[in-house]
């Protein structure tokens, strides 16, 4: 296991520095809450309850949800996890444990846009070279809500510097579980932006704009948390009239 920080580890291994926005900030999230381990336990318990609820139809048989069980064994949690590869399916969380970030994102079906962005910007090497990285990866739906198709093409094809900076707004130096981020209460991404991280529903709310929808993919050298909104400061272009149809 090449991951430097395991589940309950707290970011104490390096000197803590006060948060100050910097262009690229390899900062540790500041630990603000003394009860972080307690909080971690509570978060996991909440996630388990949420995942076990099949919800909806009162006539539905009260059978255990195998997806939820697989979620538990895979170590990931969040409302989207059951819709992603589970159990022994290709791309299940355990199968990604030894894969570098750029390979792992290719296996997570809702990260096709994020994957394309990583490849377009050549960030894969950087991600592999890092000592540990946390990826706040927006889902395809998140990208679709943020950017028009033409805007996204522009970023992927012509404006890769902007796209690279956008990706840095989703990367954190150091490998952290979602519980650790929640415990710290905030995190600074590689573009120097400090984001609050607060428990919300069964997971966490990040930067007041994104919800973690399936957290804690453990991969070689890092963690991947799927989020439902694009971070960073680019303007929203989705739904503009110039969005092309067929």
């Amino acid at each position: 296991m090449s991951e430097p920080h395991r589940a309950a580890a707290v970011p104490t291994g390096r000197p803590r520095r006060p948060h100050r926005p910097t262009p690229v900030g390899p900062h540790r999230p500041r630990v603000r809450r003394p009860l972080r381990l307690t909080l971690l336990a509570a978060t996991v318990a909440l996630a388990a309850v949420a995942a076990g609820c099949s919800g909806g139809d009162p006539d539905a048989p009260d059978t255990p949800d195998p997806a939820a069980a697989a979620t538990a064994t895979g170590g990931v949690s969040g409302p989207l996890c059951a819709s992603l590869p589970t159990g022994t399916d290709p791309g299940n969380p355990e199968s990604l444990a030894g894969e570098p970030v750029d390979v792992a994102v290719r296996w997570i079906p809702v990260l096709t846009t994020f994957d394309a962005a990583v490849r377009a910007t050549g960030l894969a090497a950087e991600l592999r070279g890092a000592q540990g990285v946390t990826v706040l990866a927006p889902t395809d739906d998140a990208f679709a809500r943020k950017f028009s198709a033409s805007n996204l093409d522009e970023l992927l094809i012509h404006d890769r510097d902007t796209l690279r900076q956008l990706l840095r707004a989703h990367l954190v130096d150091g490998s952290y579980s979602l519980a650790e981020l929640v415990a710290a209460g905030s995190v600074t991404t590689m573009d120097g932006t400090r984001l609050t991280v607060a428990p919300a529903e069964s997971t966490a709310r990040i930067g007041d704009v994104a919800q973690a929808v399936c957290a804690d993919y453990r991969v070689a050298g890092g963690r991947i948390h799927l989020i439902d909104a694009v971070l960073g400061n680019l303007p929203t272009t989705a739904g503009r009239d110039d969005d092309p149809a067929h």
């Binding site: 791309g91 809702v110 096709t112 395809d140 067929h246």
Partner: protein, 708 residues
């Protein structure tokens, strides 16, 4: 293709009782699934589930007063014990199909091969009625026997259970294996992308495909373009699965189809965009705004393919973000320059065939645009749907609704959604083959009529604007349609010219509108479209009286919305009556004329005539070009030793027709003519062709025209 098999499972009394106790206390114990009378008021009866490739068709007897139905699916093990939650995966509603008295629903999105139990219940408004008795079945495994070479090939998308799309390298390896293992397929590289990726096309025939493009064209083939937008990959996965089926299936239906025509599949026209997950190609150009302009190598490759292989029917695959659309939005070529017969036949394919088959199998085709579709589905000739229509190909756009939409509430943007999209595309493409098989004669007639119409250079020219798509009273799949899109006045040219004249600079000059500021010359692009061009002393003439008349002005007239150049409009030089001999020198164009006397085309001169009657012989020797469309000729026609194009389309000749020693690089076009006399062709540099539009010849056909 496996034959669809009904799999109504009548549960044993014991099993039904067990399930009933677990899942639906209200269901009468021991009631078989095929019960004809409801055990309870308003309970759905006669539920059947039929398995097909990647989907299961549910059908049931409607409940009086129901406003919609919910379809529930529960995963079960081999003993029919539930192994997961019961989920409402489908909402049937009346506008999904044309016949509401026989409701069907294609359930899809599950992993093929898994086993499920289905139930259906009616709702009166929001009031849920009792569920039907359950029906259990095992869905079909991904097509192909795992123990049979070839059949056992699988794409990356299939082996990863839709976690990953098939990569370029996986596609190439899979394609090569199909090519290696099946005699029915030939894989042709039709071009390369901007970044140099091969663009492959599968050519399928039984027992083997014809060996040349011309021989393929003779079979009036059917074509599928699977993936023009790199970020819309669902149709491409269907095409790759379909390629395996066509290569290896022993289903009599497949053998029958491949014995009667050739199937052309281009899985990835935009390989660079697919690899980068972008809509456009590597330059950012949306290729589906370039099929007329062909500035990019990808679109140019496709257009050259159409020129050489001459498909008569086609689909173009996409995905679509409108959540209120049906499963399968479709749209015919609408540009108003598309011949009425092509528009009508395309509408017949969509409304006459796809809607009916959709109602049988539970899919929901509908007009593109649909409810809330906005200003889409219009007449841009740059879009393949319209470009192909202007090339007299019966065709449709196909969209796969990106989201679960209003009737598939369980879908997220995950594997279940991807599988539904891909298998609905697979269904559509197979139905395209069925339509071609059933209606090939009609399609060919529509195409012949269209080519004859275009070559007559009749009627106004519309630069932008659409044929209307009629809406149907709700509930109906066509209750919402795309905008009317009438042409604006400045997009209409009532007085069509005879030809466009291009200067050498326009025709041969370097272009800067291609990738990296380098583009093919108009000479090369016009050749890719396959138009006849007359090289005269004073310039290059592109006559309109030829099969792609509807497309030519859109690219060569300054009034066009997206033209290449503003060519000079050349109007007819002679209309009305001319008595006495006529000697043609220079460029002569006769429209709506009557010539009483012999016509002699001098060496180096050009004769273009349409909607004209000649009473007397027409003789051309050493002409720069002879182009006749919708001409009535009482007398012999002799065209010899022309330096440029010879095109005879839709003419009636009372007398012998003789084509001798014509030297133009293009094959003389002899299509849709009625010749009351012999037809003789000898010594022409290229063998004359009819482009599958038959001629009626009373006398003997000989020489190079023996088979026309």
């Amino acid at each position: 293709m496996r034959i669809r098999r009904p799999s109504v499972v009548v549960l044993s009394g014991l099993l039904a009782a067990t399930l009933g106790a677990v899942t639906a206390p209200s269901t009468a114990l021991g009631q078989p699934a095929s019960a004809t009378t409801a055990a309870e008021p308003n309970q759905v009866t006669n539920l059947t589930v039929t398995q097909a490739d990647g989907y299961a068709t549910l059908a049931w007897t409607p409940v009086e007063g129901a406003t919609d139905y919910q379809i529930e699916r529960t995963p079960v093990d081999a003993n029919d014990e539930p192994i997961g939650p019961s989920v409402v995966v489908g909402i049937w509603r009346p506008n999904r199909q044309i016949n509401n008295d026989s409701p069907t629903f294609a359930d899809a999105g599950f992993n093929p091969g898994d086993r499920f139990r289905w139930r259906v219940r009616a709702r009166f408004g929001t009031e849920e009625q009792p569920y039907s008795a359950p029906v259990t079945g095992t869905t079909l495994q991904p097509w192909g026997d795992p123990d049979v070479p070839g059949e056992n090939l699988r794409t990356q998308w299939e082996t990863t259970k839709a976690a990953q799309y098939t990569s370029d390298t996986n596609e190439y390896a899979y394609t090569a294996e199909i090519d290696r293992l099946s005699d029915r397929v030939r894989v042709v590289e039709i071009g390369r992308t901007v970044l140099g990726r091969p663009i492959n096309m599968f050519v399928f025939g039984y027992p083997t495909p014809p060996t040349t493009p011309e021989a393929v064209a003779a079979t009036s083939p059917v074509a599928i373009n699977c993936n023009v937008h790199g970020n819309e990959p669902g149709d491409r996965e269907a095409c790759l699965i379909m390629a395996r089926q066509l290569a290896f299936s022993n289903d009599p239906r497949i053998i029958d189809i491949l014995s009667h025509t050739t199937v052309l599949i281009v899985p990835t026209i935009n390989g660079d965009g697919r690899a980068a997950n972008t809509r456009g190609n590597s330059t950012g150009q949306d290729l589906n705004r370039d099929y007329s302009l062909i500035r990019q190598p990808e679109t140019a490759a496709f257009v050259r393919m159409v020129r050489d292989y001459r498909p008569i029917a086609s689909y173009d695959g996409h995905e679509y973000g409108n959540t209120r659309a049906g499963d399968l939005p479709m749209l015919p070529p609408r540009h108003q320059n598309v011949a009425q017969s092509i528009f009508d036949q395309s509408q017949d394919m969509i409304e006459g065939f796809m809607y009916a088959r959709g109602a049988e199998d539970g899919w929901w085709p509908c007009p593109y645009g649909c409810e809330g579709g906005g200003n889409v589905g219009l007449g841009e000739e740059t879009i393949l749907r319209n470009t192909l229509g202007l090339k007299n190909v019966v065709n449709s756009l196909l969209e796969l609704r990106s989201s679960g939409g209003q009737t598939r509430p369980d879908e997220g943007n995950t594997a279940n959604n991807r599988r539904r999209k891909t298998y609905s595309a697979l269904w559509t493409f197979h139905r395209l083959l069925d339509y071609h098989r059933a209606k090939a004669a009609e399609i060919k007639r529509a195409r012949a009529e269209a080519i004859g119409f275009q070559a007559s250079n009749s009627g106004r020219i519309v630069f932008r604007g659409s044929h209307p798509i009629p809406a149907r009273p709700a509930p109906h799949p066509a209750e919402a349609v795309p905008p009317l899109d009438e042409p604006r006045p400045d997009m209409i040219l009532d007085d069509a010219p005879c030809a466009y004249k291009l200067t050498p600079e326009q025709y041969l000059g370097a272009r800067t509108d291609g990738p990296g500021g380098v583009g093919a010359t108009l000479a090369e692009r016009i050749a890719a479209h396959g138009w006849k061009v007359v090289k005269a002393a004073d310039g290059y003439y592109v006559p309109l009286a030829q099969p792609e008349r509807g497309l030519i002005p859109l690219l060569l007239d300054a009034q066009g919305a997206e033209e290449w150049v503003g060519g000079q409009r050349v109007y007819p030089t002679l209309t009305g009556r001319h008595n006495g001999p006529l000697t043609v020198t220079g460029f002569t164009c006769i429209a709506d004329g009557t010539v009483n006397g012999p016509v002699t085309v001098q060496p180096g001169a050009t004769l273009v005539a349409y909607r004209t009657t000649f009473n007397g012989p027409v003789t051309a020797t050493g002409a720069a070009g002879v182009v006749l469309g919708d001409v009535t000729l009482h007398g012999p026609l002799q065209v010899a030793n022309s330096a440029g194009p010879v095109s005879l389309v839709g003419n009636t000749v009372s007398g012998p027709v003789n084509l001798v020693g014509n030297g133009g690089a293009d094959a003389p076009l002899v299509a849709g003519n009625t010749i009351n006399g012999p037809l003789s062709c000898t010594g022409n540099a290229a063998k004359p062709t009819a482009i599958e539009v038959p001629n009626s010849v009373k006398g003997p056909r000989s020489g190079q025209c023996a088979a026309l």
